[in-house]
């Protein structure tokens, strides 16, 4: 696998990606034409409600999409090469070595019948030419780096002997032990308590920054994104409705959905008597509205919104897909 990356070339480039599920009632498009780039070492947050397609996007990039789901349009370029067309074998070599993955529930992503050491050594030896002893030494180092006390003793323990936060540290060590250049973290802290969540996010950020690894952080929690990510992509009904720097999106959200989302998050010390609410719910894939998928809930929808799907328009270092910005260029 060639690792020659040009300083300004994107590490990962997703072009017009669509993911479709074949069902008895016809194909359901769960992800519909999303496009974004990820620079080396960048942390991109993907935020959206359940069913928005954010996890599926991550799954497609790691090549773990399962039947009946399939990529029916678009391409994924990693370090300049297409990876969506790779065979499962080639993808397996890439995954773990160049692309690491961290999932929500640390207990289900670890093998309960193997010690954490065995799992780390296996991963290291699959991807790096190391002897058993050297791999074990590296595994102990990895555990120490993710802040597990007494790694020499802990390495021979099983996942159930670790607490939730410690388990997620082990998962991070596993994802990073082969030094990948891209990490897909799918809701890495959702199963953890707030005080542990802060530790894990800090750790993930530190580890990736030190190694120059880029991260796609998939979460439903805008607060997590605001504190961790550089850029954020807001997803709704399988589409990216807005993408931009975290600072800009938080300070000045453009898409009506992003605006509503920001205002509906309760905040400590805001003293409000009522929360802003977006009425209704995200449409089901079986009856997506025509035009812009958000128009039935949008306070500013007009005729065009019902008829044509908005294209992504450039705004301040990002894009927004909304007809409001079509007529009067921002």
């Amino acid at each position: 696998m060639s690792t020659t990356t040009f300083p300004n070339a994107p590490l990962l480039s997703v072009r017009d990606l669509s993911i479709c599920f074949d069902t008895r009632h016809g194909p359901l498009r769960a992800v519909d034409g999303i496009t974004f780039d990820l620079a080396p070492g960048e942390i991109l947050g993907m935020v959206g409600e359940s069913g928005a397609g954010k996890s599926l996007t991550g799954t497609a990039i790691t090549g773990l999409l399962e039947r009946p789901g399939r990529i029916d349009r678009g391409e994924i370029l990693f370090e300049g090469k297409r990876i969506d067309t790779l065979s499962p074998d080639e993808m397996r070599r890439l995954r773990g070595r160049r692309i690491g993955a961290i999932f929500q529930d640390p207990l289900t992503s670890l093998n309960p019948l193997m010690t954490v050491g065995q799992q780390l050594v296996q991963t290291i030896r699959t991807h790096l030419p190391k002897s058993k002893d050297a791999a074990r030494a590296r595994a102990i180092e990895c555990l120490a780096e993710v802040g597990i006390p007494a790694p020499e003793a802990r390495i021979d323990q099983y996942p159930h002997q670790f607490s939730g936060g410690m388990r997620q540290r082990v998962v991070i060590a596993l994802a990073l032990c082969a030094e990948p250049s891209l990490v897909i973290a799918d809701e890495p802290t959702t199963a953890l308590d707030v005080s542990i969540q802060a530790q894990i996010l800090d750790l993930l950020k530190k580890m990736c920054r030190e190694r120059g690894a880029a991260v796609i952080l998939v979460t439903h929690d805008m607060g997590v994104i605001a504190e961790t990510a550089d850029r954020v992509a807001v997803m709704y009904s399988g589409r990216v409705v807005e993408i931009g720097s975290v600072d800009r999106v938080v300070r000045d959200p453009r898409h009506p959905y992003t605006k509503g989302l920001m205002q509906s998050i309760p905040r400590v010390g805001s003293g409000v008597q009522r929360l802003t609410q977006i009425d209704g719910a995200m449409p089901r894939l079986t009856d997506l509205p025509s035009g812009c998928a958000f128009h039935p809930r949008c306070p500013r929808a007009f005729d065009t919104c019902q008829q044509t799907r908005p294209a992504a328009l450039p705004v301040e270092g990002g894009h927004v897909a909304c007809h409001l910005y079509q007529e009067e260029p921002a």
Partner: protein, 358 residues
């Protein structure tokens, strides 16, 4: 110990405790000489909830907040202490006499996918309390009441014909609320009612719960791990750690000037979209195993202010100026006065507890 003295509270918990027996079976105890083991899930809880107000319990998983909810509605029996509801001690009540109180105390559960029977139509789900408490006398009356309840929670009367799977998560939680208020209760126990919902839907449900409180004069015991949600919903807040109340008081007091080191830690770790990437104080350690809690104050292994007294003696809850109660030796002795306290911990990490009163 009361957090509100102006009127007689609707619900008062006095020294409420719940111990779960985790002992191995008798034979194993005899043969393997293992001792009895128990877990104190809730330990001496004192809470007053005034009528028409919301008391929120916050804490991390395993701190005992859901056990409190189950104790209050009678799904668990208390090991010690009293639960006084409108002047009657529920723990002393015979099973036959509890029925009258069930009608007045209802519960909303966390997961609207698990708490609604998938094989029942929504109108039957909502009508079940009406039938079992004999509130409606005829089918027509029942139908009208179900329709009224559905409209009260923002659904339409026609939705009664549908099954739960035809609704989204937020709509299902509305159905749960309609069922909970169908017996015209005075007191609702809400155990993480919005944590299974997406934010844009969460705000709808929280607004609905506040509207219903104003319209029907409901009293809430609101259980959540989300401080921002608690700040929005509650009048009084109690912070739990390993089965004990470490700090309790009026919500504005707890949020503007938290005193207990654990409360301050919690406040500091909430991700906030407005604060951007601040340099958060690194938090150390994890919640200890509740089967073998540390001696003294259960928070001492994670506390930057802990000293020998904290490691030996559990702190009593003391009343503080500002109307809150705090169980902490350091706060009591005034050891926490410098706003920034730094200390070495076992792992050599430095932890800072800096938080100006916002």
């Amino acid at each position: 110990m009361s957090t509100a003295t102006e009127q007689k509270p609707l619900v008062a918990l006095d020294g409420l405790s719940k111990t779960f027996d985790l002992s191995p079976p008798l034979l194993n105890r005899l043969i393997e000489r293992k001792g009895r083991r128990s877990l104190r899930a809730v330990d001496g809880l004192n809470i007053d909830i005034p009528r028409g107000k919301t008391f929120a319990l916050v804490g991390e998983s395993g701190c005992g907040k859901s056990t409190v909810a189950k104790l209050v509605v009678g799904l668990h029996g208390a090991s010690a202490g009293k639960i006084t509801f409108d002047g009657t001690d529920l723990t002393k009540l015979a099973a036959a006499d509890r029925g009258a109180f069930r009608k007045r105390i209802q519960m909303i559960f966390q997961d609207p996918y698990a708490s609604l029977n998938p094989r029942w139509r929504v109108r039957d789900i909502i009508a079940e309390p009406l039938r079992s408490f004999g509130i409606t006398s005829s089918k027509a009356e029942e139908r009208a009441e179900v329709g009224r309840l559905l409209e009260l929670v923002g659904l339409s009367a026609r939705d009664g014909e549908k099954f739960p799977h035809e609704f989204s998560g937020g709509q299902r939680q509305r159905i749960s609320i309609a069922r909970a208020i169908s017996s015209k209760p005075e007191f609702l126990v809400c155990d993480e009612p919005t944590s299974a919902l997406d934010v844009s839907v969460q705000s709808q449900v929280l607004n609905l719960m506040r509207d219903l409180q104003d319209e029907l004069g409901l009293t809430y015991l609101f259980i959540s791990h989300d401080l921002a949600v608690v700040d929005f919903m509650s009048d009084y807040v109690g912070v739990m750690y390993l089965g004990r109340l470490v700090e309790a008081g009026p919500a504005e007091r707890i949020f503007s000037a938290p005193e207990h080191p654990y409360t301050r830690l919690l406040m500091d770790t909430v991700p906030d979209i407005t604060m951007g990437r601040r340099n958060r104080a690194p938090v150390i350690g994890e919640v200890p195993n509740p089967i073998t809690p540390p001696p003294g104050c259960s928070f001492n292994p994670r506390c930057p202010l802990a000293n020998d007294r904290c490691r030996a003696q559990a702190p009593e809850a003391r009343k503080r100026a500002g109307g809150s109660i705090v169980a902490c030796h350091a706060v009591e002795e005034g050891r926490d006065t410098p706003e920034t306290v730094a200390c070495e911990t076992g792992e050599g990490a430095r932890m800072q507890l800096a938080r100006g009163a916002a």
